[in-house]
C-alpha cells in the first residue's frame, strides 16, 4: 500500500486527497446532522453550499483551466435552475419518487445549460481577453432578462410556454386547464416548488463535478485546453484545434453549472431570475480566484469559507458585508503583493508550492 502511494505522481496524490477531503467532510457533517448538532440555519446552508461548490468548480474550468474570464456564469446556473424546476414540477405526478425526479431534473438542467453553452460559446470564444469577458456578461444579462419575461405552465396537455415581451401577458394568458400547474410567472419567478434537493444529492453532485473536472484536466482533452491557455499560437503549431477544445471546455463548464443551478433551484420553494444576475457571477468568480486558478481543492475551501463567512460575521450585524469587503481586499493584497507575501512568509512558514496544483 505504502509503495503504491510512493509510485503515484504528486498530481494524482493531490486528486485523491481532494476526493478524500470531500468525502470526509460529508461524513462529518452527516453525522453532526443525525446527532442534531446543526441548527436550522446551518442545515439550510448545506445544499446551497454544495451548489456553489459545483459552480466554483465549473467556473474554474473556464477561468483557471481554459484561461478565459467569464462574467456571466450565473446565466448557466439560471438556465439549469429553471429547466430543473420545470422538469420537477411537470413530472410531479408521473414520477412520484423524489430522488428519481431530482436526478431527472439535474440531467435536464445540465442538458439545457449545455445547449445554452454552445449558443453562447460559439460567438463568444472568437473574442479575446476583456472583450470576451464583457460579452459573457452581456449574455448573462440577456438570459436573466429573457427568463424574467418567461411564462411557463403545465397541464395534462403538456407544457405551455409564452414570452411576456410587451408586459401585457400574465400567467393567465397560458390558458391552463383547471388542474394545471403555474410554474414560472415572469418576473416573480417560480414559486410553490417542491423542495426535493437533499444534502446527499448535493454531495454526490459535488463528487461527480469533481471527478469530471479533475479527470478532464488530466486527460488528452484537458492538456489541449491548458496548452491553449498557456500559448495559443504554440498550441496551433502542434496541431491542436483551438476552437474545438475551447468550446469543449466551455460547454462542459456550462453543463456542470446547469446541474448546480438545478440543485440550487430545487432547494427553495421560490426562485426568481434576479437571483442569478451579474452579482452572482461575480460572487462565484471571487470563490475561484481566492481558491486559486486551476486549483480545485482551493475552490472548494474558498467557497465554503466565503459562503459561511457572512453568516459567521452576523455578530457584526450591519457591518458584516463591510467586513466581508475589507477581508476580500486584504486577502487579495496579501496574496498578490510581493512585499506583503514576503512578510507573510516570514510569519507563517508556508510549504513551497509544487507544480502539482497547477493543473
Amino acid at each position: 500500500m505504502k509503495n503504491y502511494f510512493k509510485g503515484m505522481k504528486a498530481v494524482t496524490k493531490m486528486d485523491y486527497a481532494t476526493y478524500a477531503g470531500v468525502i470526509l467532510a460529508f461524513v462529518i457533517v452527516s453525522l453532526c446532522q443525525s446527532f442534531g448538532l446543526l441548527n436550522r440555519s446551518v442545515s439550510g446552508m448545506l445544499v446551497p453550499i454544495c451548489a456553489y461548490v459545483c459552480m466554483a468548480l465549473s467556473l474554474n474550468l473556464t477561468v483557471g483551466v481554459l484561461g478565459e474570464l467569464s462574467l456571466g456564469h450565473a446565466g448557466f446556473m439560471s438556465v439549469g435552475a429553471f429547466t430543473g424546476i420545470i422538469t420537477s414540477m411537470s413530472l410531479s405526478t408521473t414520477v412520484p419518487n423524489e430522488l428519481a425526479r431530482v436526478v431527472l431534473a439535474l440531467v435536464v438542467g445540465m442538458i439545457f445549460a449545455a445547449i445554452t453553452g454552445v449558443i453562447v460559446g460559439v460567438p463568444v470564444l472568437r473574442l479575446r481577453g476583456d472583450y470576451l469577458a464583457i460579452v459573457t456578461l452581456a449574455f448573462g444579462e440577456i438570459i436573466k432578462d429573457i427568463i424574467n419575461c418567461l411564462l411557463v405552465g403545465w397541464d395534462e396537455n403538456g407544457l405551455h410556454i409564452a414570452l411576456n415581451i410587451d408586459g401585457t401577458k400574465s400567467i393567465a394568458s397560458l390558458g391552463l386547464s383547471e388542474n394545471g400547474i403555474e410554474i414560472i410567472k415572469g418576473a416573480q419567478g417560480a414559486s410553490g416548488n417542491d423542495r426535493i434537493a437533499t444534502f446527499t444529492v448535493g454531495f454526490v453532485l459535488v463528487l461527480i463535478t469533481l471527478v469530471v473536472v479533475l479527470n478532464l484536466v488530466r486527460s488528452r482533452t484537458g492538456r489541449a485546453v491548458m496548452a491553449i491557455r498557456d500559448n495559443r499560437i504554440a498550441a496551433e503549431s502542434v496541431g491542436i484545434n483551438v476552437t474545438k477544445y475551447k468550446l469543449m471546455a466551455f460547454v462542459t463548464s456550462a453543463a456542470l453549472a446547469g446541474a448546480a443551478g438545478a440543485l440550487f433551484g430545487l432547494n427553495y420553494s421560490s426562485v426568481s431570475a434576479v437571483q442569478f444576475d451579474f452579482n452572482t457571477s461575480i460572487l462565484v468568480l471571487v470563490y475561484v480566484v481566492l481558491g486559486g486558478l486551476g486549483n480545485m481543492w482551493g475552490s472548494i475551501i474558498a467557497t465554503v469559507v466565503l459562503y459561511v463567512l457572512p453568516e459567521a460575521l452576523r455578530s457584526f450585524s450591519d457591518y458584516r458585508m463591510l467586513a466581508y469587503a475589507i477581508v476580500l481586499i486584504l486577502v487579495m493584497l496579501a496574496t498578490n503583493n510581493d512585499q506583503l507575501k514576503g512578510l507573510l512568509a516570514k510569519v507563517i512558514p508556508v510549504r513551497k508550492k509544487g507544480d502539482a496544483i497547477d493543473g
Partner: protein
Amino acid sequence: MEFLSYLINGVSLGSIYAIIALGYTMVYGIAKMLNFAHGDVIMVGGYVSFYATSFAAANLLGDEPSAGATLAATLLSVLLAMVVCTALGIIIEGLAYRPLRQAGNLAVLITAIGVSYFLQNAAQLLFGAAPKNFTPVVSGQLTLFSGQLRISYVALLTVVVCIVIMVGLTLFTGKNKMGKAMRACSEDQGAAQLMGINVNATISMTFAIGSALAAVAGVLLCSYSPVLQPTTGSMPGIKAFTAAVFGGIGSIPGAFLGGLLLGIIEAMAQAYISTQLSNTVLFAVLIVVLLVKPSGLLGKYAPEKV
C-alpha cells in the same frame, strides 16, 4: 415628433454613459485594469451633492432663495462632489490598486470588486438603504413646436456638459504635458518610466480625472432619474463599461461614441421594442458589433506577433 423626443432622451442618457465610460476607458488605457468600483464612485458623487444641496437649502439659503443663490449652491455642491470623488479615486488607487501593479489582471479585478462592495456597504451604513429623492440640478423644460416637443433642461445640460468634457479631454491628452505622459504610459509603462515619466503619479492623475468625471456623471444621472440609493451606480456602471468596450476600450473618442450609441439604442428599444427587454436589445447589439469588429468600433486591433 415622438421619434425626435425619444432620440433626444437617448442622446441625453447616452451622454451620461459617455462621461462614465470616459472614466473606465482612461483607467483601462493606462492601468490596463477594469475598475469595477467606478460605478460606485458615481453613487458617492450623487450622495455628496445631495447632502450638500440639502444642507444649503436648510441652513444657508432662506425660505425663498434667489435664483442666483440656488445656482451658486448647486454649483458648489457639484464642485464639492468632484473634490470628494477625486480624493476617493486617488485613495482607492493608492491603497488597493497600487500594491497590485505587478499582480495578474484577475487579482486586480477581484480587488476592484471588493472596493465596489466596500463603497456600497459603507454608503448603506452612512446614508441608509432607503432611496433618497434627488432634486435635479436644473428644472423645467423647453417647449418647441407649440408643445409637441418638450426637452427638459437637464437633458440639454447633460449633452452640453458631455461635449465640453469630451473636447477638454481631447485637448488635455493631445497638448498638455501630463496628457502626453498619460498616452506614453498607456503605450508602454516601462518605456515611459525610462523616459523619466513618473508612472505612479500619472496613474493617480488618471484616477483623479476619471473620478471627478464620475462625480459629474453622478449628479447628472441623479438629475435624470432622481432616485438615489447605494446601488444607484451599479447598473449605469456596467452599461458604461459596456459602452467603453463597444467603442473600443482605451479610446477616448470610442468611449464617447459608444456611450452615445448605447443611450440611443436603449431609449429606442424601450420606446419601440419592449421595456423589459431593452437591456437584451442593448447587449445583443454589443455582441453583434464585437463579432464584426472584435476590438470595438474605434479600438485598435493588434494581432499577436509570432
